[in-house]
Symmetry: C2
Subunit: 164 residues, 2 copies
């Protein structure tokens, strides 16, 4: 009854992170983030540049830990939360998603804002981020708001450099 | 070199749609949308209720058409666009994503706003929609804005009933 599906790599993410991926990194002059699609998918990128933001779907291939249903997220000061109320990469299906700013497209290469993934992470899909479908202006921070130190946590979420 | 990954079903979406899934449906008294997670994942739902919105990831199991890199989206009046600049379900990996409002959680069941999926669509992940990460207030409509009839298209996107 438990069904298994196959998904395939359609490209790769080039990032500066070989060993440790930062939480919400920021693209800069030194840091370049490029999604290199396999050439056979190049035509599928037509019109994408018209969008300000895109969703990048990737397979977190370096995750080796055991999946647990209750976890302690980093920076959450030991708070325990359900796995599905977190963005932990250690999930039943290690599929990651990021909303990134689209900078430019050159042939089969998509240049984006920062992506917190290891170099050579497999890409499995690209979708446009469409205002009415995906932008929820009354979205919130859920349990993160209840942390004593939620402003600090928010700096991590936003990728804003700060001292501890 | 082309890598294949396995993903597994972790639950199922119950929707009113057996044959034709509408584009952006609206939950109502008659229409109920429930994500039923397999029982082994129930603990992973702790704290999720604190979020206003969640991402639902699903595997579009009924899609049988051939994948094409340039497509004509419905309601776009024959305009041709690249597949990755559309939300077409006919993709190299038929993984769907929806941002939905979380209504309530009862045991392993998540009650949500409308989901444009067929009844019994396999669920592969649930993630919280977090304000700073996922809400982009300067998001746009990309090529959709260039359609002569973009206001009409927008009604479809928003799931607002209207006459043609």
């Amino acid at each position: 009854m438990k069904k298994i599906f196959e998904i395939k790599q359609i490209g790769v993410i080039k990032s500066p992170y070989e060993d440790i991926a930062p939480y919400q990194p920021v693209a800069s002059d030194e840091n370049e983030f490029v999604i290199v699609l396999d050439k056979e998918y190049k035509e599928g990128l037509q019109n994408l540049k018209k969008f300000e933001y895109i969703y990048v779907f990737y397979y977190m291939h370096k995750i080796k830990k055991n999946v647990e249903m209750v976890i302690k997220p980093p920076w959450a000061k030991g708070k325990k939360v359900g796995l599905f109320s977190s963005r932990s990469p250690v999930r039943p299906n290690p599929i990651g998603i990021s909303v990134v700013k689209l900078k430019k497209i050159v042939e089969n290469k998509i240049y984006t804002s920062g992506l917190d993934v290891f170099n050579n992470t497999p890409v499995i899909d690209i979708k446009p981020y469409i205002k009415d479908l995906d932008e929820k202006s009354n979205a919130d921070y859920g349990w993160i708001n209840e942390l004593d130190d939620n402003e600090h946590f928010s700096l991590h979420l936003k990728g804003i450099p700060h001292t501890h």
